[in-house]
């Protein structure tokens, strides 16, 4: 049984197939409106989520399928102490495919080990969130026309941000990628990621503090939120949070075709004045999330053994 737990669970060829199908859905959404007729998606959300759960549900409804599930652990058997393994064994007989979000890292992998239906990791703590990464890749590919030959800047919390770690891993598989890692000293990319991914794949990179100095060279700027709770020193937070507010003034230093992505929710790290800039594509990115999830559901159901193709 095929599952998607980590962004690298799809090889480059499979990823390409996923993105191509997503692009076709963008062009012809009606063509796929009955693609998963009579199929059921279970959304097991052990912690609250707005965009991801609704995006998965919208994706399945767009494909003509149905949805069932729960949106917090309080309304599931987890509240009675049921294990993830037992829950998924039962759900496997109710649905054809399952998206699972869990606050504990590795829970979707545990589910996949006991499931007879495809499992999609919809986020496990601070660990993986593959469909966000696929969304990011689709956004770049659709709007930039390529996933290679790019200088990609990541800005903000690069230490704890799972979306950043996953996207670095995913983009590292493409040719001629450069990373500019823009963060305060306290929130730099973890050493293991630099050693085991960036350096291991000989990706050119640099670590800088100033967004203004680096923004002119970027093709993509991936903004993240600097989280106050991560700082031990209030003064440092106050000093650094202003550095990473993207404004129209800073955008004026960027290339004309640079794209600004953000996994959302945006708090104050991107000024609302930037929203009207055509290079600000984070809301488009959220829309693409539905298409890429539609494509993923279709491909996994197609691969699921002994089940009719949709």
């Amino acid at each position: 049984m095929r599952h998607v737990i980590s962004p690298t669970d799809l090889n480059l060829s499979e990823l390409n197939e996923l993105l191509e199908l997503s692009e076709d859905i963008i062009k012809n959404p009606k063509k796929y409106s009955e693609a998963c007729h009579r199929k059921k998606l279970a959304t097991l959300f052990y912690e609250p989520s707005t965009r991801t759960r609704l995006s998965f549900e919208a994706a399945m409804l767009n494909l003509g399928g149905s949805i069932l599930g729960f949106s917090s652990s309080d309304s599931s058997s987890a509240a009675k102490g049921e294990s993830v393994a037992d829950t998924i064994r039962v759900i496997s007989s109710y649905a054809d495919i399952c998206a699972i979000r869990h606050p504990k890292e590795g829970a979707p992998l545990v589910a996949s080990l006991h499931s007879s239906i495809p499992i999609i990791n919809a986020g496990d703590g601070g660990h993986n969130h593959p469909t966000q990464t696929f969304t990011d890749l689709l956004t770049i590919r659709n709007l930039k026309g390529r996933l290679d030959n790019l200088t990609v800047g990541f800005c903000g919390d690069l230490k704890f941000g799972r979306t950043v770690h996953s996207l670095i891993g995913a983009l590292s598989r493409y040719e001629n990628i450069n990373f500019v890692l823009i963060s305060p000293e306290e929130l730099k990319v973890p050493d293991y990621l630099k050693e085991e991914v960036i350096k291991a794949r000989k990706i050119p990179y640099k670590e800088v503090i100033s967004l203004e100095d680096s923004i002119p060279e970027l093709d993509i700027l991936y903004m993240t939120r600097v989280q106050k709770e991560r700082f031990f020193n209030e003064e440092d937070y106050i000093r650094l949070k202003d550095t990473y507010i993207l404004t129209s003034k800073k955008m004026s230093l960027a290339k004309e075709d640079m794209l600004v992505l953000h996994p959302l929710p945006r708090v104050n790290e991107i000024s609302v004045e930037v929203d009207s800039d055509p290079r600000a594509v984070y809301f488009k990115q959220a829309e693409f999330g539905v298409y890429v999830r539609m494509a993923l559901i279709m491909l996994l159901l197609r691969e699921s053994e002994g089940r009719p193709q949709c």
């Binding site: 294990s83 890292e105 590795g106 992998l109 545990v110 496990d124 660990h127 085991e196």
Partner: protein, 138 residues
């Protein structure tokens, strides 16, 4: 060096990182063995400055390579008739189960006790294992 006595037949686990002997002692369940076991802690070492050593009398039927997951720098000496007949460094297994324990409080293994603690080797040179579930290194 503290002299514990000559081992006629058995195993000497040498070059254990100082302070790490009890982890190996516990994993091997040595407290349940009838034979003599000596633990030497903080022995002086030219290579490591300080190290731990475990001497076990008699034969021990276990996969000693597993110990590499606990401490990849150890040396295992097989003793027979008071002589070292074999000296080996463990080959690190690609994956181990219930040998290492994930200490990440955010990992699923911290709340679901039926989930085995599985680790995969991600850096053979430095002996780094990562939890299969949360990928935290150890």
């Amino acid at each position: 060096m503290l002299n514990i006595g000559i081992l006629k037949q058995g195993i000497v686990i040498d070059h254990i990182k100082a302070g790490g002997a009890m982890k190996i002692y516990t994993y091997l369940n040595l407290e349940h063995l009838d034979c003599s076991v000596a633990i030497i802690k903080n022995a002086r070492s030219n290579k490591m400055k300080r190290k731990d050593i475990i001497k076990i009398e008699g034969t021990l039927d276990i996969n000693l390579d597993i110990l590499g997951a606990l401490d990849h720098k150890i040396t295992i000496n097989i003793i027979k008739d008071g002589e070292i007949i074999e000296k080996k460094n463990p080959t690190l297994p690609d994956q181990v189960e219930n040998v290492l324990v994930c200490k990440n409080p955010r990992c699923i293994t911290s709340v679901e006790k039926s989930v085995p603690h599985s680790f995969k080797l991600t850096d053979r040179e430095n002996g780094i294992y990562r939890c299969l579930y949360c990928e935290q290194g150890i």
